[in-house]
C-alpha cells in the first residue's frame, strides 16, 4: 500500500479533525469525531511504520518524505520538509497511539467546554507529530511552539485549583528556552548558509548537519539549544514547572505531557544538539551526565516525600528521564538505543500511571494518598494494572522499563566519553530508589484495610477504561520481552548518527577549513 503524502496526512489529519469537531453539534458527536480521527490517524501511522525500511536507513536520509520548494527562493532556504527516519518513527507511533487513548480517557473526565477541549487536543497532536517529523528547523520551530498554545489552554481551563499559575509557568519556562533556541537557530542558519549553501540562509536539517561549525563557535550555540531542550525534558534543575503542570493538568493533559511532550526535549538533544555541535556536545557530555544522574537520585527522593500521588509520579518522570539524558550523552550505540527505547517506554508506563490515577480521581476526587488505603479489595482489576505499571516503571526485567534502563546503563558504563564507573553506579542506585517510592505509593493506596466508606463503594474498571489500559499493558510486556523489532527500527539510524558525529568531531578537532566536508549519503528528494 503506497499512500502519497502519508507522512503529511498523519501530521495534519488531527488538525483537520479539529475543524470537524468545531462543526459537531452534540457532545457525543464531538467525542466520537475526535476518537474516530485519532483512530484513523493511528491506523495510517501503521502504514508509516511498515513503510519505513530501517535496512536502507541512515540518520540523514528520511523516507516517506514530503518536501516543498523553498518558501523564499534565493533568500532563505526554508521549506516544508517532513519525513520518517529511525530516530522519529517510534516517537511518531507513540504519539498516534496515545491520541485515541487520551481522547477516551477524557470521555467522562471532561465535563465542561467539550468542544474547545477536543479541538485543542487534536491541534496538539498535529503539533507534536510535526515536531518529530520535521526535517526543516524552521518548520520544527513552528511546530514546537504550536504545542505550547493548546497545552496552555488545556491546563489553564480544565486543570485543577491552581491551574492558571501552572499553565503560565509551563508556557513561560518553555518559551524562555525556545526563544534562546530561535536566536541560536538564526545564527546557525546564516553561518551554515555562508559556509555550505552558497550564502543562502538555511534551516534544512540535512544541510545543517553537513556543515562543520568551527569548534570555538559551537559552545554557546550548543548551550542555547540544549537549554531549550533541557527545560522541556526536564533536566534537573529546570524541572520545577513539571510537577505543577502535571498536578494541575487534567488526565489527558498529563498523559500527553509525560507521554510525548517531554520527549520533544530528549529527541531534540539527539537530533539537533549532537549532530550540529558534536565537539561542544562531547565537551559538555559530563556536565549533562552529572545533571542527569543528580536528576535520577534527586527526582526519586523528592518523589518519595510527596503526599499527592500525581506529584509523586510527576517527580518520577524527572528521575526516569535522567536515565534517557544519561544515555544520550554516553555516545555509543547501546546507550543511545537504550535512550530511544526508553523514551517510548516512559511514555507507555508513566502514561498508564497517570491514566490510572485519573480514574481514581474521577471516583474519589482526591489525589492525596492518605485518602486511599486498602482499595485493592474494592478495585482488584484496577489494582492489577496499577501494580503492572508500577513494576514496568520500576524496571522489572520482562517488562519494558528494564530494557531501556539496562541498555542505557550498560552502554554508559562502557562509554569512553563519560568513562566514570562511579557516576554510573550512582545512576544505578536509581533502580533501588524507584522501588522505594513506587512501592510506597502502592503500599499507601492499595494495601491495608478498607476502612473508608467511599473507597469501599468504588466501582472497578468499566469497559472503556479497560480498553485504555489493555493496549498499554500488552505493550509493556511485548516491549519487555521482544523489544528486538522496535530496536531494529532505530539501530541503523542511531549507528549512522554516531558515525557522523564521530567524523564531524574529528574534523572539528583538526580545525575546520573551507575544504573540510562531511560526506553524507545523498538526501532523499521525495
Amino acid at each position: 500500500m503506497n499512500i502519497p503524502f502519508l507522512t503529511s496526512i498523519v501530521i495534519f489529519l488531527p488538525l483537520a479533525g479539529a475543524f470537524l469537531t468545531m462543526l459537531a453539534r452534540t457532545e457525543n458527536a464531538i467525542k466520537w469525531t475526535a476518537l474516530g480521527v485519532t483512530l484513523v490517524t493511528f491506523g495510517l501511522s501503521i502504514g508509516l511504520y511498515l513503510g519505513f525500511d530501517p535496512a536502507v536507513s541512515t540518520a540523514v536520509t528520511p523516507q516517506l518524505a514530503n518536501i516543498s520548494s523553498s518558501w523564499f527562493p534565493g533568500q532563505f532556504d526554508i521549506k516544508y520538509f517532513v519525513g520518517i527516519d529511525g530516530l522519529n518513527i517510534l516517537l511518531i507511533m507513540l504519539t498516534t497511539l496515545l491520541g485515541p487513548i487520551v481522547v477516551l480517557s477524557s470521555w467522562t473526565y471532561i465535563g465542561k467546554n467539550l468542544k474547545p477541549y477536543y479541538t485543542l487536543l487534536l491541534i496538539l497532536q498535529t503539533g507534536v507529530t510535526g515536531v518529530f517529523a520535521s526535517f526543516d528547523m524552521f518548520l520544527f520551530y513552528i511546530f514546537f511552539e504550536l504545542t505550547l498554545i493548546p497545552m496552555y489552554f488545556i491546563i489553564g481551563i480544565w486543570g485543577g485549583e491552581n491551574r492558571i499559575y501552572a499553565a503560565l509557568k509551563f508556557v513561560l519556562y518553555t518559551l524562555v528556552g525556545s526563544l534562546l533556541m530561535l536566536v541560536a537557530l538564526i545564527f546557525l542558519g546564516y553561518a551554515a548558509g555562508d559556509a555550505v549553501n552558497a550564502g543562502v540562509f538555511t534551516t534544512d536539517w540535512y544541510t545543517l548537519v553537513s556543515y562543520n561549525m568551527p569548534v570555538e563557535m559551537q559552545g554557546w550555540l550548543f548551550l542555547m539549544f540544549a537549554l531549550a531542550f533541557a527545560i522541556k525534558v526536564p533536566l534537573f534543575p529546570f524541572h520545577t514547572w513539571l510537577p505543577d503542570a502535571h498536578v494541575q493538568a487534567p488526565t489527558g493533559g498529563s498523559v500527553i505531557l509525560a507521554g510525548v511532550l517531554l520527549k520533544m526535549g530528549t529527541y531534540g538533544l539527539v537530533k539537533f544538539c549532537l549532530p550540529f555541535f558534536p565537539n561542544a556536545a562531547s565537551d559538555y557530555a559530563m556536565t549533562f551526565a552529572v545533571l542527569a544522574v543528580i536528576g535520577i537520585i534527586y527526582g526519586a527522593l523528592v518523589s518519595r516525600a510527596q503526599t499527592d500521588a500525581k506529584k509523586l509520579v510527576a517527580y518520577s518522570s524527572v528521575s526516569h528521564l535522567g536515565f534517557v539524558v544519561l544515555g544520550i550523552f554516553a555516545f555509543n550505540t547501546e546507550a543511545l538505543q537504550g535512550a530511544m527505547i526508553q523514551m517510548v517506554n516512559h511514555g507507555i508506563s508513566t502514561g498508564a500511571l497517570f491514566l490510572i490515577l485519573g480514574m481514581l480521581y474521577e471516583r474519589r476526587h482526591t489525589r492525596d494518598m492518605a485518602d486511599y488505603g486498602g482499595i485493592a479489595t474494592s478495585v482488584p482489576v484496577l489494582t492489577f494494572f496499577m501494580v503492572l505499571s508500577v513494576l514496568a516503571s520500576a524496571g522489572l526485567p520482562g517488562l519494558n522499563g528494564f530494557v531501556g534502563e539496562f541498555l542505557i546503563l550498560i552502554g554508559s558504563f562502557k562509554s569512553e566519553t563519560l568513562a566514570s564507573p562511579v557516576l554510573i553506579a550512582l545512576a544505578t542506585t536509581g533502580v533501588i530508589l524507584a522501588a522505594v517510592y513506587l512501592l510506597y505509593m502502592v503500599y499507601r493506596m492499595f494495601w491495608g484495610t478498607l476502612d473508608n466508606e467511599e473507597n469501599a463503594n468504588m466501582k472497578d474498571l468499566n469497559k472503556r477504561e479497560l480498553a485504555l489500559l489493555v493496549p498499554l499493558a500488552v505493550l509493556m510486556i511485548v516491549l519487555g520481552m521482544m523489544p528486538g523489532p522496535f530496536l531494529a527500527k532505530s539501530e541503523p539510524a542511531v549507528q549512522h548518527l554516531l558515525e557522523v558525529i564521530e567524523t564531524k568531531k574529528a574534523i572539528g578537532e583538526a580545525g575546520v577549513t573551507a575544504a573540510t566536508e562531511v560526506v553524507l549519503p545523498a538526501q532523499i528528494s521525495e
Binding site: L172, T240, P380, G411, A435, Y443, L487
Partner: protein, 658 residues
C-alpha cells in the same frame, strides 16, 4: 522427543498456569471458587515439567544442550538471547524446583482451602516456578537476572499476600527493596563483565572471565556476591527473610527455604571458575557465610515463633552453603542446597500443619467465647501435639534429626562434607579454613539445640493452650501429610547421593557436578588429609550433633520453655543481643532508612520547593515587578502617550539647543 521442545515446555507451562489462573480469576469472579480446578491446573503445570525433567535427566549424556528460543535485545555489541541451558547443574536445580515445588503446590491445596485469594495464590506460585526456572536454566546472566528479579517479585507478592494487614505489606516492601540493593550490585557486575568481554553468556564469561584484570575479577565476583547476599539472605542483607514469614507458610517452605534463597549459591556455582580466580574475595565469602551461620543460629535459640526459628535456621544453613562456596567446594554447597530443600521444606510444611491446627484451636476458643487470644505460631502455647498430629510429628522429627546432622540422615552427609572441606582448606595452608571450620562446628552444636528445642516445645510434653482438656487439634488432610511424608523420606535418605569419599563409594553428586564433564569447578587441594583424620572428623562431627540433640532434649523436655530463662541468666547481655536479633533492624533503621527517607522529607523536598522552584518564582517575580513599573510606558491611553511625546520633544529640543 526433541529436547528443544521439552525445554520450552518446562519453562512455558508454569507461565501458562499463572496466566490462566491469574487472568481468569481476575476477570471472572465465578472462577475463583473452583478450588479443585484451580489447584489441578496449577499442580499440573509444575508436575508435567517435573516429569519432563526426570526424562531429560535420565537420558542426559554429559554434553550441555543449549536452546536458543529468540533474541531478547540487541544494540551495538550487546546481544542477549532467551537461551536456556541444560547441563548437570541446571538439571539438578530444575529437579529440586519442580519436584519440591510440585509437592508444595499439592500441600497448598489443603492449606489454602477456603481462602478468598486461593486463585491468586496459585497464580503467584506458578509464576514463581516460571521465574525460578528462568533463573536456573538461563544461559546468560541477563536471563538469569530476569528470573532473579522475577522470583523477587513473586516473593513480594506472596509475602504481602494477605495485604489487608499492612504489616505483611511492609514486610513485602522490605524484602523487595533489600533484594534490590543486592540486584544493584548484580547489575554493576554485569556492566563490568560486559565492558571487558562484550558478552554476558556463560560460555563467554567462563572462557574470558578468568583472563580479565585481577582487580576487575575481584570487583565482579565481589559485586555478584553482594547480589547473592541479598537474595540468599546473608550478612548484611539478611534481615528481610525473618520478616518474610508474614507470607503463607507454603511460601516460606518453597521460596524462603527450598528454592529462591538458594539462588545466590547457584549463581556462584554457575560461575565457579570465575569465583576461583578471585581468592581474596573467596575468603570474604567464606567468612561472611560462617558469621551468618553462627549469628542466625544464636538468634534462632531465642525465638518463640515456630516460623521465626525456622527462618533464622534457614539463614544459618545458607551461611553454611556460602562457607562451602568460599572454600571452593561449590558442589558441596549445591549438595547442601538439595538436602536443605528436603528437610527445611518438610519442617516448614510441618510448622504449617501445626499452625493450621492451632488456628482450629483458636477458632474453637473464640467460638466458645472463652475470650482467650491465641497466637497460632507461638510455641509457648503448643506442646504435646504428637498425640493429635502423629504424621506431622514424625516427619518433623525426622527432619529435625536430619538438619541436626544425626548420622546417616541427609543433613549429616552434606554438613559433614562442608566442614571437611573447610578443614581441608585450612590443612592446605589457608588459615581462614581453620577459622570457618571452628565456627561451623559451634554452629552445628547450636543447630542441634535450637531444632530440638523447637521440636520438643511443639510436640512433646503436655498441651499448653487454654482449655486443652476440651479443645483438641486435628491432624491435617492427606493433601498436606503426603507431601510431608515424601519430603521426610527424602530428608532421611537424600544424603546417599553424596557419600563421603572415605567410604570408598562413588560420591555421586561430586561426580555429577564436578566430574569430567561437570560444569562446576572446585578448589584444587594440594595436601591430602589422611583417612584416619577424615574418620576422626566424621566421628567428631557426629558427636557434636548427638550431644546437641541429647542436651536439647534433656533441657527442654524436663524444664520446657523455662529453660530459656536459665540461658538468659547464664549468658546475660549476650542473650539480650541474641533475643534482640543483634539489633540490626534498629541499626539499619537509624543509619540508613531514617536518614534517607528523612532527607527526602526534610531536605530534598523543601530544597526543591523553596530553593530550586523558589529561584524560578523569584525570576518570575522580578520580571513581574519590573513590568509593574515598565507597564506605565504602555498604558494604551492616548493622552498619556501625548504627554510623553511632549516631554520627549521638550527633552530633545533642550539637548539640541544646549
Amino acid at each position: 522427543m526433541e529436547p528443544d521442545l521439552l525445554i520450552k515446555l518446562i519453562i512455558l507451562l508454569p507461565l501458562v498456569g499463572a496466566a490462566i489462573n491469574g487472568l481468569v480469576g481476575l476477570f471472572l469472579p465465578s472462577h475463583r471458587k473452583k478450588e479443585g480446578l484451580i489447584g489441578a491446573i496449577a499442580i499440573a503445570m509444575v508436575a508435567i515439567p517435573f516429569f519432563i525433567t526426570v526424562y531429560l535427566f535420565t537420558g542426559f549424556h554429559g554434553e550441555p544442550i543449549v536452546v536458543d528460543v529468540f533474541s531478547w535485545m540487541k544494540a551495538g555489541d550487546l546481544s542477549i538471547d532467551f537461551a536456556y541451558r541444560i547441563d548437570q547443574l541446571s538439571l539438578l536445580m530444575t529437579l529440586i524446583v519442580t519436584g519440591v515445588g510440585g509437592l508444595i503446590h499439592l500441600y497448598s491445596v489443603g492449606y489454602m482451602h477456603g481462602d478468598d485469594g486461593f486463585w491468586r495464590f496459585f497464580a503467584y506460585l506458578n509464576l514463581f516456578i516460571f521465574m525460578m526456572l528462568n533463573l536456573v536454566l538461563g544461559n546468560n546472566l541477563v536471563v538469569l537476572f530476569l528470573g532473579w528479579e522475577g522470583v523477587g517479585l513473586c516473593s513480594y507478592l506472596l509475602i504481602g499476600f494477605w495485604y489487608k494487614n499492612l504489616k505483611n505489606s511492609a514486610a513485602a516492601n522490605k524484602a523487595f527493596i533489600m533484594n534490590r540493593i543486592g540486584d544493584f550490585a548484580f547489575l554493576m557486575a554485569m556492566f563490568i563483565i560486559f565492558k571487558e568481554l562484550g558478552a554476558l553468556d556463560f560460555d563467554s564469561i567462563l572462557a574470558g572471565g578468568p583472563g580479565m584484570d585481577q582487580t576487575l575479577i575481584n570487583w565482579a565476583v565481589f559485586l555478584l556476591f553482594i547480589g547473592a547476599t541479598g537474595k540468599s539472605a546473608q550478612i548484611p542483607l539478611f534481615t528481610w527473610l525473618p520478616d518474610a514469614m508474614a507470607g503463607p507458610t507454603p511460601v516460606s517452605a518453597l521460596i524462603h527455604a527450598a528454592t529462591m534463597v538458594t539462588s545466590g549459591l547457584y549463581l556462584l556455582a554457575r560461575l565457579s571458575p570465575l569465583v576461583l580466580s578471585a581468592p581474596s574475595i573467596m575468603a570474604v565469602i567464606t567468612v561472611v557465610g560462617a558469621l551468618t551461620a553462627i549469628v542466625a543460629a544464636t538468634i534462632a535459640i531465642t525465638q518463640n515463633d515456630i516460623k521465626k526459628v525456622l527462618a533464622y535456621s534457614t539463614v544459618s544453613q545458607l551461611g553454611y552453603m556460602f562457607l562451602a562456596t568460599g572454600v571452593g567446594a561449590f558442589y558441596v554447597a549445591i549438595f547442601h542446597v538439595m538436602t536443605h530443600a528436603f528437610f527445611k521444606a518438610c519442617l516448614f510444611l510441618g510448622s504449617g500443619s501445626v499452625i493450621h491446627s492451632m488456628h482450629h484451636v483458636e477458632h474453637e476458643l473464640e467460638h466458645d467465647g472463652h475470650g482467650h487470644k491465641l497466637d497460632p505460631q507461638d510455641m509457648r502455647t503448643m506442646g504435646g501435639l504428637k498425640k493429635y498430629m502423629p504424621a506431622t510429628r514424625m516427619t518433623f522429627l525426622i527432619s529435625t534429626l536430619a538438619i541436626s546432622g544425626i548420622p546417616l540422615l541427609s543433613g549429616f552427609f552434606s554438613k559433614d562434607e562442608i566442614l571437611f572441606k573447610a578443614f581441608e582448606f585450612g590443612f592446605d595452608g589457608n588459615v581462614v579454613g581453620w577459622f570457618v571450620y571452628g565456627i561451623g562446628i559451634i554452629t552445628a552444636f547450636l543447630t542441634a539445640i535450637y531444632m530440638t528445642r523447637a521440636y520438643v516445645l511443639t510436640f512433646e510434653g503436655t498441651p499448653r493452650w487454654p482449655h486443652a482438656d476440651k479443645i483438641h487439634p486435628h491432624e491435617s488432610p492427606w493433601t498436606m501429610t503426603v507431601p510431608l511424608w515424601i519430603l521426610a523420606g527424602l530428608a532421611a535418605v537424600g544424603g546417599y547421593l553424596g557419600l563421603p569419599a572415605v567410604l570408598g563409594e562413588v560420591n555421586w553428586i561430586h561426580h555429577w557436578l564436578a566430574g569430567e564433564n561437570g560444569p562446576v569447578a572446585e578448589y584444587a587441594v594440594n595436601g591430602h588429609v589422611s583417612h584416619t583424620m577424615e574418620w576422626a572428623l566424621i566421628a567428631f562431627g557426629s558427636l557434636v550433633a548427638i550431644l546437641g540433640v541429647t542436651l536439647g532434649w534433656k533441657w527442654y523436655s524436663s524444664q520446657g520453655i523455662g529453660f530459656d530463662t536459665k540461658l538468659e541468666s547464664r549468658f546475660g547481655g549476650l542473650y539480650k543481643l541474641w533475643k534482640g536479633k543483634y539489633f540490626l533492624d534498629e541499626a539499619y533503621d537509624k543509619a540508613i532508612v531514617r536518614p534517607v527517607i528523612g532527607s527526602a522529607y526534610h531536605a530534598f523536598a523543601p530544597f526543591d520547593k523553596y530553593v530550586v522552584d523558589g529561584l524560578v518564582n523569584a525570576v518570575g517575580f522580578f520580571t513581574r515587578g519590573s513590568s509593574f513599573v515598565l507597564r506605565y510606558m504602555q498604558t494604551g491611553l492616548v493622552h498619556s502617550y501625548a504627554v510623553a511625546i511632549v516631554f520627549g520633544v521638550v527633552l530633545i529640543i533642550y539637548l539640541m539647543l544646549f
